[in-house]
């Protein structure tokens, strides 16, 4: 394998990793803050993609569509939070798992009812279309853009959580929501905001994936599983962990897909897919609460 193709594959792995990171931030944030395991996170990815598709068709503008997708998903998430998720904070993980599983099933089907089973696509806006020659190989501009946006979103979020008072309150709420309220801060709204923010990030990932992959009912499911894997590897509640694990998984997946079929022949594809989970088991064996354990991250 020549150096330039190796580099290109590194880029691919990195880009994939960053997309996963966008998803993982949401899961880890919602868990870190509200101790909520959210299986409906994949649906937000899907909803983002679909809303963008529908809005693009209606308005003809990618940028408007992007806005619609983000705002729409955030509003929907807020509604879900208020109606369904709120009572779940006080429940155990099992109840949360189940209820959000139900939400996923419902949303998947709702998409079918509204948009049918045909895949929905968004066209890439002209300035992001095509490819650019860099470091000796052509690379799709759009994928570069995804990477950029994900990095930016990640940085903003890390800053928000680590450095701002909003972030402090959010983390304090994670520790003890009653106590935060007892000190005069409204947690309920804070939670709705965080939940919507997480959904917005997932929708961003979905919206950006739209032009690359086919949006179809249930597209969010496999992404969700990978995201959960990433978050487990990184450590629930840890943003740093999510970042490291996303990149690990992105690269492992990309290189696994290239090499495993070469090494294992026909069975290679399946084995390549397995790698990520082997990594997860290995990591959890040595660090039962993920790479970057946060206080209270292990329940």
């Amino acid at each position: 394998m020549s150096f330039s193709i190796l580099l290109e594959q590194l880029f691919n792995g990195f880009q994939y990793g960053m997309l996963l990171f966008l998803m993982a931030i949401g899961v880890t944030l919602v868990f870190g803050v509200m101790r909520l395991v959210n299986l409906a996170h994949g649906s937000m990815f899907m909803v983002g993609g679909y809303l963008a598709g529908a809005a693009a068709q209606a308005t003809g503008s990618f940028w408007l569509a992007a806005l619609c997708a983000l705002v729409g998903a955030a509003i929907m998430a807020a509604v879900i939070e208020i109606l369904i998720v709120r009572p779940l904070y006080r429940r155990g993980h099992l109840d949360q798992l189940l209820a959000t599983f139900g939400v996923t099933l419902t949303l998947n089907e709702l998409i079918v009812v509204i948009w049918g089973r045909a895949p929905v696509f968004v066209s890439i806006p002209d300035i992001l279309d095509g490819h650019t020659e860099m470091l000796g190989f052509p690379y799709p501009v759009y994928r570069l853009a995804i990477t950029g946006v994900a990095i930016l979103a990640g940085l903003i979020l890390m800053w928000l959580v680590a450095k701002t008072r909003f972030g402090m309150l959010v983390r304090a709420g994670a520790d003890n929501r009653t106590m935060v309220a007892g000190l005069g801060v409204n947690v309920t709204v804070l939670y709705t905001l965080v939940f919507a923010l997480a959904a917005l990030l997932a929708a961003l990932a979905g919206m950006m994936s739209g032009p690359l992959i086919a949006m179809q009912p249930g597209v969010g499911d496999p992404i969700l599983i990978l995201t959960l894997t990433v978050v487990c590897i990184g450590g629930f509640g840890s943003l740093k962990g999510a970042l490291v694990a996303s990149l690990l998984v992105g690269l492992l997946d990309t290189f696994g897909r290239i090499f495993a079929p070469q090494w294992f022949g026909a069975a290679g594809n399946a084995l390549a897919n397995m790698l990520v989970y082997v990594l997860m088991a290995a990591v959890l064996y040595y660090r039962p609460a993920g790479l970057f354990t946060t206080r209270g991250g292990h329940s």
């Binding site: 691919n12 089973r117 994928r143 179809q216 290239i258």
Partner: protein
């Protein structure tokens, strides 16, 4: 009054859901044309969703057989699910008149009286495409496809007939939608053309990513890239060539009528999936008409499918002894129509009146 219980099974959801839905349109239109009667008998229709998952397909077949007690089953979307469905259908003494895909094992050594494919045998499409690539003067090609029965058949067919240098072959898992790593590998091999097999929504993802990846070489495909997906493509897809046993532009009376009615009802031209299913119902109409009144003789029905002449939208049609069609395979290209929309235009016959290469291995009816 005599009735016939018709089972229709197709991938109505999942990544191939679009195809199944199109098959259903073909079915509905045909039944509409026939006033919901097959050979004069009123049709009781039972629909099942196989989701293109073999395990699910088997379960749904069991429902059609055990619960609905259907007389005959038509449909089937993906090759792998068809392979899975055949066994329980055989066990129940029923017949599957397949309307999409023709997996190679069922065309060859595993052929069975209980299964017909009215659409095509998988290799038929792609062998034609391999030849077409030769004609276009392609010397170095890379092959890629989805990792399942149809992918193996299609890619294998194209590889077999392609005469130039075969630079490599990649199969990607059925669930995979991001092909960046594979496209990079392909580009590194510097081929002159790529042959790809991607059915359903993966097709759209693949073609779009192909266009963005900086691979400025022709894409040949025998996949389910079809009229159905045209709205999803950018102009980047213009020029891609696909093979198929059907194109809405085929000239004959039956097709003209079919295309006109379909367009009237659904606002666009029919795709091959609708056409094959439409054909199947038209054939069943003729078959059932020959059955004696009263209880349906399922064995007889099975035999009649292979021997009853009918008017296909493809023009002449004939089943081979292995229950696969002998037919023309056409080349079609994505072009921009006058209305500014993409169209899948017929550009010629890739192979004329071909049977599939597995027929010889099938002991049946020889």
């Amino acid at each position: 009054e005599d009735k016939i219980k018709l089972g229709f099974i197709a991938a109505l959801s999942g990544p191939l859901g679009v195809l199944g839905a199109e098959q259903q349109r073909g079915l509905d239109l045909a039944l509409e044309h026939l006033n919901n009667r097959l050979g004069g008998r009123e049709v009781e229709l039972y629909t099942a969703d196989s989701r293109a998952v073999p395990g699910v397909a088997v379960q749904e077949i069991s429902k059609l057989v055990d619960k609905e007690n259907v007389d005959v089953i038509t449909g089937g979307t993906a090759s792998n699910e068809i392979m899975a469905m055949v066994k329980p259908i055989e066990a129940a003494g029923l017949t599957l008149l397949g309307t999409n895909g023709g997996p190679s094992p069922l065309a060859g050594k595993d052929c069975t009286p209980n299964y017909y494919s009215i659409a095509f045998q998988n290799d038929q499409w792609s062998e034609a495409m391999g030849r077409y690539m030769n004609e276009q003067g392609i010397k170095r090609a890379y092959f890629i496809g989805m990792d399942y029965q149809a992918g193996w058949d299609h890619v294998g067919g194209a590889e077999r007939t392609f005469k130039g240098e075969n630079l490599g072959k990649i199969f990607t898992p059925q669930s995979q939608l991001d092909f960046s790593a594979e496209l990079a590998q392909i580009r590194a091999a510097k081929p002159e053309a790529v042959f790809a097999f991607y059915p359903g929504s993966a097709a759209v993802a693949f073609v779009k990513q192909y266009a963005q990846s900086g691979l400025d070489i022709p894409l040949f495909s025998s996949a389910g890239v079809d009229t159905l997906f045209l709205p999803a493509f950018d102009d980047a897809a213009i020029g891609s060539v696909f093979s198929s046993h059907y194109n809405a532009g085929i000239e004959n009376e039956a097709n003209k009528q079919f295309v006109a009615d379909f367009t009237k009802e659904f606002g666009r031209k029919p795709s091959l999936y609708a056409a094959s299913q439409y054909d199947a119902i038209m054939l069943l109409d003729k078959v059932v008409a020959q059955l004696p009144a009263g209880e349906i003789d399922r064995k007889k029905l099975q035999e009649l499918i292979g021997s009853t002449p009918f008017t296909s939208v493809r023009g002449d049609f004939k089943f081979n002894h292995n229950h696969m069609p002998i037919q023309n395979i056409y080349a079609q290209r994505i072009e921009k129509g006058e209305d500014g929309k993409l169209a899948l235009n017929l550009i010629g016959v890739a192979s004329e009146n071909v049977e599939d290469r597995y027929a010889a291995e099938c002991p049946m009816g020889k």
